[in-house]
């Protein structure tokens, strides 16, 4: 039974916007998680985000966020932060957004108790598949933030003795077609 989902959002085709999926791949490569934790790269799902945040105890979302601070800054927001930010729901560049989908889940009574957004400020969101240097540096900080959030929630991730190669398939020249 999945109780905690670590959910990466963002578009890997526009550089730093894909920092969420990148961080997710790093987490998968470096850590072993208990069975009740699931890691999902959801891309930019819009309304399809709803089923991915429902019926859980905890959701941890990894995404690029607009400021404050210089590129690479890491910010954590909780459920109240996400829901309380004014009334400008569903007006972001990707729409409907996290806030409106969280609201739909509340309306359905399926919203998780624990909601954390681990946000990283992007530098360059033009077309391309490589992260910028500034954001790349932020990834290891954000990695530890995620592990700490899990620890706070009583979930112990274990560092792999032999880390795997991260599956950043969008940066590779070729994909395994076996």
């Amino acid at each position: 039974m999945i109780k905690t989902r670590i959910l990466a959002l963002g578009n890997i085709l526009v550089r730093d916007d894909g920092v969420g999926p990148y961080l997710l791949a790093i987490l998968e490569a470096n850590w072993e998680f208990p069975k009740q934790v699931e890691l999902v790269d959801a891309g930019t799902p819009g309304f399809d985000l709803l089923p991915l945040i429902e019926d859980l105890e905890s959701i941890i979302i990894l995404d690029a966020v607009k400021g404050p601070g210089p590129p690479g800054s890491v910010h954590c927001s909780d459920r109240a932060d996400i829901l309380s930010a004014g009334l400008s729901l569903g007006s972001g560049p990707h729409d409907p957004n996290l806030r409106s989908v969280l609201f739909e889940a509340e309306l359905r009574g399926t919203a998780p108790d624990k909601v954390m957004l681990v946000g990283m400020v992007p530098s360059d969101t033009s077309v391309g598949t490589e992260l910028t240097e500034a954001v790349m540096v932020a990834v290891s900080e954000a990695e530890q933030v995620v592990i700490d959030i899990l620890a706070d929630q009583g979930v112990a991730a274990k560092r792999r003795a032999n880390p795997r190669q991260p599956e950043i398939w969008w940066n590779h020249g070729a994909v395994n077609h076996a």
């Binding site: 959002l9 578009n11 085709l13 799902p45 607009k66 009334l87 077309v127 077609h177």
Partner: protein
């Protein structure tokens, strides 16, 4: 004296769209549609292995992942003239049907119904009276007094806490809102139920696709779903039965809730069967192949010109040269280098951003043309081209919807009223009913084929030396989608995606002919220029999806309001 209204961004859509209109004497006299995101998938795909293109194209748009994945593998298979196994065709068909049902339900209830439904008004409703109306529409159990009362209580609790949240974008109390409190309550209750049924449709996609969004089960040459009816790890009978059950539950919802709701709204806003036609040249392509070689299709495609069913010309399969040779994209009014038009295989995407110039360049979306003409694509195009060809299920549900709306509104309605804002909603509901009926057949064909001992799922591709070209077609929820690929020595040389919202949302072409969004707004009423609900009604009726680039969570929301008036 005309007044300029800018809606930027248009909310409750996927992606970023700006609409400008000029209003004179309460009606739109001119309009501009501007996509605000640059799409440059080919810059990423050039030089890559064609077998991995689908992994990238399904990231173009996080909402339409499966459609861009399937169009991409079809493009490569078309270039290779590669026949895929029947199981692969049918598994893809089931994914496409389930995704379409999910998409149409979400669009109607969650992205556009609030243009017609006043949520706050439902608090004044008498649930018992609402139940009587609901029971007159269908025998759906959710139309009972108790269910409706529970939905009303839920909304009341949110309103009391000052947490209208997502509904804040609605234009409550607008003079163009006309449903009774009871009908508003029914619609709100169905909005909540639709959240559950769109999810079930998506579960069917996830079982077949490994997950959704972003499929994992595709391959150039077929699918990667190993089939073994007795093996837990593969596509087995338990999973197949679950898929059938989910799709049947969704079909119930479509026939007993979605279609009746569209009929009810259509009969209460009949004037919106008279606005919003715009471009009445229509294009759709055949889809849901019934054999491995894709020579027969469950839904037909074709073109209709000037809104006249008599002009129907069928498109014969995915290799019909009439489609392949007739598509060009114009950039005279788009933020790209040059002012010419190019066939997608020769397409370029060299950005050349200027300001927003009414008479010059003003959009990141290119302007596709078919034989030089703008074409409207989408469920309406599919329903009209199917109807004109006598397609049985399309005719059945189109007649049902038209007769029912006519009876409730007390008028006789022909298929011509579908050329309109509400006609697009009606067509989407008709298409959903048609697909919901077809789902069972494709499921049965798959099970029969597996039962006959055929477990083939993939024909591995072999890439020749030299240059080959292909086009992958799919009649997606928002209309005709085509992916165009040029391959040299097994590597991608060029790649262009001509997506449905490019056809509909594109700007003027080099002859200054308006695109479908633009043309559909001309003549629309605008009662209150500060709250241009009517513009949203017509634009939302196309199911705009421009979510193809940046997705950045914005903790502050948007600093400027969505409507500016000059």
């Amino acid at each position: 004296m005309s007044k300029r209204i800018t809606v930027d961004p248009v909310t409750r859509i996927e992606g970023h769209l700006r609409i400008d209109v000029e209003v004179e004497n309460g009606h739109v006299v001119n309009s501009w549609s501007s996509g605000q995101m640059w799409r440059g998938i080919e810059t990423i795909l050039k030089g890559r292995d064609p077998r991995e293109a689908w992994l990238f194209t399904q990231r173009i748009c996080g909402v339409c992942t499966s459609v861009h994945a399937i169009a991409s593998v079809r493009a490569v298979e078309n270039a290779l003239q590669l026949q895929i196994p029947l199981n692969a065709q049918l598994i893809r068909n089931l994914i496409l049907v389930a995704h379409s049902l999910h998409d149409h339900i979400v669009h109607f209830y969650h992205l556009s119904a609030l243009d017609w439904v006043d949520v706050v008004s439902c608090l004044q409703a008498d649930p018992a009276k609402a139940a009587v109306i609901g029971e007159s529409l269908s025998d759906w159990p959710g139309n009972s007094r108790n269910t409706l009362k529970a939905a009303q209580d839920k909304i009341a609790a949110f309103v009391e806490q000052g947490r209208l949240g997502i509904f804040e974008n609605g234009y409550w109390g607008h003079s163009a809102m006309r449903l009774s409190p009871e009908v508003n309550l029914l619609a709100v209750a169905h909005y909540l139920e639709a959240l559950e049924y769109q999810r079930r449709a998506n579960q069917a996609v996830a079982i077949l696709g490994g997950k959704t969004p972003n499929l994992q089960n595709l391959a150039v040459g077929g699918v990667a779903n190993a089939i073994n009816l007795d093996n837990q790890a593969t596509l087995n009978m338990e999973k197949l039965n679950r898929i059938r059950q989910l799709l049947r539950e969704v079909r119930e919802f479509v026939l007993k809730v979605y279609v009746p709701d569209v009929i009810a709204i259509g009969s209460m806003y009949p004037e919106w069967l008279g606005y919003g036609a715009g471009v009445t040249d229509y294009l759709s392509v055949p889809d849901l192949p019934l054999d491995a070689a894709a020579t027969r299709f469950d839904i037909p495609g074709g073109t209709i010109m000037n809104g006249d069913p008599g002009t129907i010309e069928a498109l014969h399969g995915w290799t019909d040269p009439r489609f392949r040779d007739s598509v060009k994209e114009h950039v005279a009014h788009a933020w790209y280098e040059g002012s010419d038009s190019r066939h997608p295989w020769k397409g370029e995407t060299l950005p050349n951003y200027t300001d927003f110039q009414d008479d010059g360049k003003y959009s990141w979306v290119k302007a596709p043309r078919f034989l030089g003409k703008p074409m409207q694509v989408g469920p309406l195009a599919q329903v009209l081209t199917g109807f004109a060809q006598g397609h049985e299920l399309t005719t059945k549900y189109a007649n049902h919807v038209l007769t029912s709306v006519g009876n409730m509104a007390g008028v006789e309605l022909g298929v011509g009223v579908l050329h309109s804002t509400l006609g697009r909603h009606a067509a989407r509901a008709i298409r959903a009913a048609v697909l919901a009926d077809m789902a069972d057949n494709h499921w049965q064909m798959l099970v029969n084929n597996i039962g006959s001992g055929d477990l083939e799922i993939c024909t591995p591709p072999v890439f020749p030396k030299g240059i080959i070209e292909g086009v992958g077609l799919h009649e997606a929820p928002r209309g005709t989608l085509s992916h165009w690929i040029v391959i040299e020595d097994g590597k991608i040389l060029n790649y262009q995606a001509v997506v449905p919202s490019t056809w509909n949302a594109g700007p003027r072409d080099e002859n200054d002919v308006l695109g479908p969004y633009e043309a559909s707004l001309v003549g629309n009423p605008v009662a209150d220029s500060e709250r241009p609900l009517e513009i949203l009604r017509t634009i939302h009726s196309f199911d705009p999806c421009l979510a193809c680039a940046v997705h950045t969570h914005d903790p502050d929301g948007v600093s400027h309001g969505p409507v500016r008036i000059f």
